[in-house]
């Protein structure tokens, strides 16, 4: 369906990534946001707090990030599209109820504007150290989707995509921004509402008598019923059967958890999004995401001036990871170079998929700044030898 025009601020704007993310959420139909102040993400909820009363949305500043995440899961069960926003320390607290959202199959969006950690770290300065936490941060096995914008325009566009993916697969979708993209101000074009596709909540058409909240009828994603529509269903963070009732045995666990993982894994081809440039015939491919993809581009150009055949692969969707494509490239290239603002996270995924067929060379940066393009260039030169 098309976006509700009330939430769409059509026009050409000069916005930072945080504001653009907030506008993307409103355009996507988000009407409930719970948040707790934390640098460098707070501008997202400040934008929403100011605009929501005029678009039919409710913002509440909760007492902490545990509460913010729990509140958006609750609100999502009313059919209201819901989001919370945070940075590393708050993201850690949200893991508890991100797991609940995954287990209850709750569509919602969590924005993490990453700063340098661990712990309080560098609150106002960039990091990309939450990438593995995004995938594995809550306990137990589950799968979700994470996106990484590289510009304010993408902060707008990908936030809409994040909501759409969360509706399609009934998972929490993580917007893995970083401080640079969040605080960078650039041109952002917001199209008219009738040119923005949004995915509505997939409400069941079954009667309350027939409906079972977790019956999938051979598919992978169950149909949704809102609280208050007469379905009188039960849902729980316990392992449950298709009625939503607790089922405390290994068989129910196998059936449920396999489906939770499969609904992303078996749809990975539809979800994964990467951007490649000059990977055909390349000796080295630079894999990057977020702000680092823009810095790495300069390093790539320096290496090309030295005559090295180097391509780039940018992760727009970070999780699920493009395993098949990395495997395929690994058979053709000498090495992958993976600059990221952490001490080696996504490079581990690249290394796993390359499986010894090509080297995977990390270019770590502890955070608080971005890479020197020359550092990326040197890593490329070395890897090409």
């Amino acid at each position: 369906m098309k976006a509700d025009p009330r939430g769409v601020l059509t026009g050409t704007h000069y916005l930072d990534g945080d504001f653009a993310c907030g506008e993307g959420a409103m355009a996507a139909g988000c009407r409930f946001v719970a948040g707790y102040p934390i640098t460098p993400s707070t501008e997202v909820v400040e934008r929403i707090g100011r605009r929501f009363p005029t678009v039919g949305g409710t913002f509440i500043q909760m007492e902490d990030e545990l509460a913010s995440m729990a509140a958006i899961v609750g609100a999502a069960w009313t059919g209201t599209k819901s989001m919370t926003v945070t940075s590393g320390p708050g993201f850690s607290l949200m893991m508890e109820n991100i797991g609940l959202a995954a287990m209850m199959e709750t569509p919602c969006v969590v924005v993490d504007v990453q700063r340098a950690g661990p712990s309080t770290g560098l609150p106002t300065m960039v990091g990309q150290g939450d990438m593995m936490q995004a995938r594995w941060g809550s306990h137990g096995d589950y799968a979700l989707i994470a996106l990484s914008p590289r510009s304010p325009q993408e902060a707008f566009d990908l936030t809409i995509d994040a909501f759409n993916l969360s509706e399609t697969y009934r998972v929490p979708v993580l917007m893995m921004m970083d401080e640079c993209v969040g605080h960078m101000t650039e041109k952002v074009v917001i199209p008219p509402a009738d040119r923005i596709e949004v995915v509505p909540r997939r409400l069941t058409k079954q009667s309350p008598e027939e409906y079972l909240p977790y019956r999938v009828d051979g598919g992978l994603v169950p149909e949704f019923a809102r609280a208050g529509d007469g379905y009188r269903y039960h849902t729980t963070g316990l392992t449950h059967d298709e009625r939503g009732y607790p089922a405390m045995n290994a068989e129910a666990q196998e059936k449920l958890v396999r489906r939770l993982v499969d609904k992303i894994r078996l749809n990975a081809d539809k979800i994964i999004r990467i951007e490649e440039e000059q990977t055909e015939g390349a000796d080295v491919v630079v894999v990057s995401y977020g702000i680092t993809s823009r810095v790495a581009q300069l390093g790539v150009e320096l290496a090309r001036q030295k005559g090295i055949k180097v391509g780039t692969l940018r992760l727009v969707v970070v999780w699920p990871f493009p395993e098949a494509r990395i495997r395929e490239l690994a058979r053709k290239v000498k090495a992958f170079v993976v600059p990221e603002i952490n001490f080696g996270q996504m490079v581990l995924e690249v290394e796993r998929c390359a499986a010894g067929q090509a080297a995977a060379v990390g270019v770590p940066h502890a955070g608080g700044g971005v890479h020197e393009p020359d550092a990326v260039c040197q890593a490329i030169v070395k890897a090409a030898q």
Binding site: M1, P53, A70, A71, A75, A227, G228, H234, T236
Partner: protein, 300 residues
């Protein structure tokens, strides 16, 4: 004189609680003589008396023995994470303001791990009916010390007796801004049911504490006898004092228990305050979320 109850062959009568309970989940997990089942029965009775549309009732629980209530009530029911029932319920209420959102959970869940959420939900006067079953102990995990365990009472983690001062829950709720505060025991089914019916009809943050026996752990660890002995104890030691100063409601080990309705007042709820404020600040530009929620319906 005794009356014999006649069983008429072929006449299957439904138990009056059936419309409110997931009978397909019976038997429940609660121990014999546990007080939680009584609370559920009284809640169902109160819903019936208040003639509430059950389609619009949501029940949220956290984790623990009382946390299992959400799994047994035949309404939209959410068994959330440990301590987070209140923020989850806050989201439900704000996502669809027409719902009657009830939180039923235990003392460890709401006041231990969830204590911070409790004080803030009360401060905001969030429109929630909160029923807290207080059995003085963590039951589900085997009898550990709770923030409600009375001084000197034994628990599995304080086998020589508790030396931490427990919460006075009605006082905490009242000072944080709850608009309705009451305490009863699971023996007081009539008063408890009336309090629940009051809570269903009123707005804002309504808090009802129900003292309930845990014969399996609390009574056994403290050599208090059976569940029946605890009920007898409630009968003999409860003082009903409506309107009591909440500062006087501390519970000592095996002391008297003051019950009653302590607070019943009106104060703008979170949503009322928000609507009034934005209407004043924004006038015609204010677009509130509709009572049926913020769902954006597909038209194509």
């Amino acid at each position: 004189m005794s009356t014999e109850i006649e069983h008429i062959e072929g006449e299957e009568r439904e138990h009056p609680i059936t419309p409110y309970i997931r009978m397909d989940r019976m038997p429940h997990i609660w121990c014999p003589t546990c007080g939680i089942g009584t609370v559920v029965k009284c809640f169902a009775t109160a819903l019936g008396r208040a003639k509430v549309d059950l389609d619009k009732v949501s029940v949220v629980s956290g984790i623990g023995c009382t946390g299992r209530v959400a799994g047994y009530v035949k309404m939209d029911s959410f068994h959330s994470t440990h301590g987070r029932a209140l923020p989850f319920a806050t989201g439900l209420k704000l996502g669809r303001p027409e719902l009657l959102v009830t939180v039923i959970s235990g003392d460890g869940d709401l006041m231990g791990i969830g204590g911070n959420h409790f004080i803030h939900a009360a401060r905001r006067n969030m429109d929630l009916l909160v029923i807290l079953v207080n059995n003085f102990i963590y039951g589900m995990t085997g009898g550990q010390n709770a923030p409600t365990t009375p001084l000197t009472a034994r628990s599995s983690t304080m086998p020589l007796g508790n030396f931490e001062r427990p919460f006075n829950l009605p006082h905490l709720a009242a000072t944080c801004g709850a608009t309705y505060v009451a305490r009863w025991t699971s023996l007081h089914v009539h008063q408890m049911t009336r309090a629940f019916a009051d809570g269903i009809r009123r707005k804002g943050f309504r808090f009802i504490e129900v003292i309930a026996p845990c014969s399996t752990l609390y009574a056994r660890l403290n050599k208090l006898g059976t569940g029946l002995d605890l009920m007898t104890y409630y009968r003999d030691n409860v003082e009903i004092h409506n309107g009591a100063d909440t500062r006087t409601l501390d519970l000592d080990f095996q002391s008297s228990i003051v019950c009653g309705k302590f607070v019943d007042q009106e104060r703008p709820t979170f949503l009322e305050a928000m609507h009034a404020h934005y209407t004043k600040a924004l006038g015609d530009k204010y677009v509130p979320m509709p009572p049926e929620g913020g769902l954006i319906r597909g038209e194509d």
